[in-house]
């Protein structure tokens, strides 16, 4: 069945998942439902401790068995030890057909690939995957499906009960013996626990795993003891060096700096750039550079930002220090400066649900003026792909891309026209993750294209001195340099589903077909 972005979703997948095809960004506005609540086991005794000796014991206490769903958060990023530690124990116990429901998985989780191959893990729900897990999925090693969810879409699936978690494992930088978790302090300081909030609210069993046990009460708790069944203390839950690094040096790549300048020029000339505007940006070199150049323009023009959202990095926190923004709303911290900034009283922690869940009574993304994003590919309909590489292998994550693009009044995608030989602007993206109707502007080093539907923005930019082009012109420039790429060849088998933030199917990912030269 063809969906609203023109992708043909096989009937077999609709049946298997019980899902509908994507019908447009606002299709479910006003949708009414009752929230799902978790199975809850009361603790009335006053023994006073929820400590359990180890991962094995806690799995037994939680009644681990074949076919269960276990969940994880990704605040420790490439420094995470929790996923591997838990999955290794589950594997040792001979449990099979586990569904992993993670807010994201990365290269740190390469060690679980053998558990995919041997059937310990049979389904994966995640924002995305990178490294060897992506390769394993794209080569058909996962028995079931890999479902890619946006940060908001994941929370929606837990709140509605569409996705049910049997056991949530929450890596907590600090925790007391009764389960009060904080993202701050300890060795594995990640600042916030935003992605794990929904797990703590909706999973049947909630296990806090910490390497820094502190005296009760660990207040103010980011995740309350009232939602935590057990606490396990281990030697290390992550590698601090890979959790939050020092702030990235501002890029000196002239191409990125030029795109950042184009972006800032566009932003300041748009109708939304005025006192009290709101802004979110990613962590790519060009995005960070555009925050730095925007800060300069804000100062010169005496324009003040009301709130910034992230995925935070130093340049965003500098806005707070310099009083250029009233407050920051934080879902994740990418560097030590951002982690440190959490202590500032104007720096607010928000849950992934508050941030982006499309099925609550209004998320933060809906209040965004600007979001600055990146993409692997953008096509002539402005559809973006941030999950599947141009070679057909899964190698990225939806993150908040579709959420913020849908919510923001002006969604800007920055991408170099060419990534090596691969044209970033193409006729049709390999896989659609963010629908073109949410994407307003594409900025490349060869020119800027405004979505033709945004006649208001086109009008606002008519006297602005920037290299405006049509998206088709950008695609032609790219292909005149690289030559026209052949379409990647896939097998019939669907290995992955790109879930829209509203739970419908945006696209599917098929098993990769090994390359063979065509007949001469």
């Amino acid at each position: 069945m063809i969906n609203a972005v023109g992708r043909d979703i096989p009937e077999e997948i609709l049946e298997k998942t019980g899902k509908e095809v994507f019908q447009g960004v606002h299709h479910f506005d006003g949708y009414t439902y009752r929230k799902h609540g978790p199975l809850t086991q009361a603790v009335i005794n006053s023994d006073g401790s929820k400590l359990v000796a180890g991962i094995h014991d806690v799995l037994v206490k939680c009644g681990i068995k074949d076919g269960m769903t276990v969940s994880f958060h990704h605040h420790f990023r490439e420094g995470d030890y929790v996923v591997n530690m838990v999955m290794e124990e589950i594997h040792k116990m001979g449990i099979r057909d586990i569904t992993i429901c993670a807010s994201s998985l990365g290269k740190a989780h390469d060690p679980i690939v053998p558990y995919i191959e041997d059937g310990t893990i049979s389904n994966i729900y995640s924002s995305g995957v990178r490294g060897k897990i992506g390769e394993a999925i794209s080569h058909g090693k996962l028995k079931g499906l890999a479902v890619m969810q946006s940060h908001g879409g994941r929370v929606r699936s837990l709140v509605t009960g569409e996705r049910q978690i049997d056991i949530a494992f929450i890596g907590a930088p600090t925790c007391d013996d009764y389960g009060n978790c904080r993202g701050i302090g300890g060795n594995s300081n990640c600042g916030v626990l935003s992605y794990a909030i929904a797990d703590s609210l909706h999973a049947d069993k909630v296990v806090a795993i910490t390497d820094c046990l502190v005296p009760f009460p660990n207040f103010p708790a980011h995740i309350s003891m009232t939602r935590v069944d057990y606490v396990v203390e281990v030697d290390a839950i992550g590698d601090p060096k890979k959790i939050a690094t020092g702030a990235a040096k501002p890029t000196t790549d002239q191409r990125k700096l030029m795109m950042a300048d184009y972006c800032t020029e566009f932003v300041v000339n748009s109708p939304y750039f005025k006192d009290g505007f709101s802004y979110q940006t990613g962590v790519g070199g060009a995005s960070i550079a555009s925050t730095i150049s925007l800060a300069k323009e804000m100062k010169e023009r005496n324009v003040h930002m009301r709130f910034g959202v992230g995925g935070l990095t130093k340049p965003m926190c500098d806005l707070l220090i310099n009083n250029q923004v009233d407050c920051l709303l934080d879902t994740q911290d990418f560097d030590l400066d951002a982690v440190e900034s959490v202590k500032d009283l104007r720096h607010f922690r928000i849950s992934a649900g508050q941030y982006a869940d499309p099925f609550n009574k209004g998320a933060v993304v809906n209040k965004l003026d600007f979001v600055i994003l990146a993409a692997l590919e953008v096509d002539e309909k402005f559809n973006c792909n941030v999950v599947v590489g141009s070679d057909g292998v899964i190698t990225g994550a939806q993150g908040g891309h579709p959420d913020t693009a849908a919510g923001a009044k002006c969604a800007i995608v920055i991408t170099p026209l060419l990534q090596g030989r691969i044209p970033a602007i193409c006729t049709e993206v390999t896989t659609v993750t963010t629908p073109g109707e949410s994407v307003d502007v594409v900025i490349t080093d060869y020119g800027i294209a405004i979505n033709p539907k945004r006649t208001d923005l086109i009008e606002a930019m008519k006297d602005v001195d920037l290299p405006f082009k049509t998206i088709e012109e950008l695609r032609e420039i790219a292909q005149s340099i690289t030559g026209e790429p052949e379409r990647v060849k896939f097998e019939d088998r669907v290995v992955g589903v790109i879930e829209s933030r509203d739970g419908t199917i945006m696209d599917v990912v098929r098993q990769i077909k090994p390359f063979e030269f065509s007949e001469e």
């Binding site: 141009s390 070679d391 057909g392 090596g420 030989r421 691969i422 340099i481 690289t482 030559g483 790429p485 052949e486 990647v488 060849k489 390359f515 030269f517 065509s518």
Partner: protein, 101 residues
């Protein structure tokens, strides 16, 4: 016809470059390709390689390319450089002739 006399190499493994190795063949052209963009450009790279060898009039060679997303012009230049290095010809190169601009 250019004889491939000894193994020779040109290019690097940097992004957007390719490393080309030529060796004496066994009477034919033997082509191998390892490319980061093989799914999208494998056939195109092979075509460029054979066209380049034809221009150079090389008929007996083992040609191996390790490609990191090089453009056609780069691939051509690296093959030409490897072939002339192999033939030990470093002067009086046929610019505009067998070496196409």
């Amino acid at each position: 016809m250019i004889e491939i006399k000894k193994p020779a190499m040109a290019g690097t493994l940097e992004s957007s470059d390719c490393q080309v190795t030529v060796e004496e063949g066994e009477g034919t052209i033997e082509f191998s390709l390892d490319s980061t963009v093989i799914n999208q450009y494998g056939n195109q790279i092979r075509k460029v390689a054979y066209d380049t060898l034809k221009n150079l009039d090389v008929k007996n060679v083992k040609l191996a390319i390790v490609d990191k997303g090089a453009l056609d012009c780069t691939i051509r230049a690296r093959i030409e450089a490897a072939v002339y290095r192999s033939a030990e010809q470093t002067e009086n190169l046929p610019w505009g002739g067998a070496i196409r601009s």
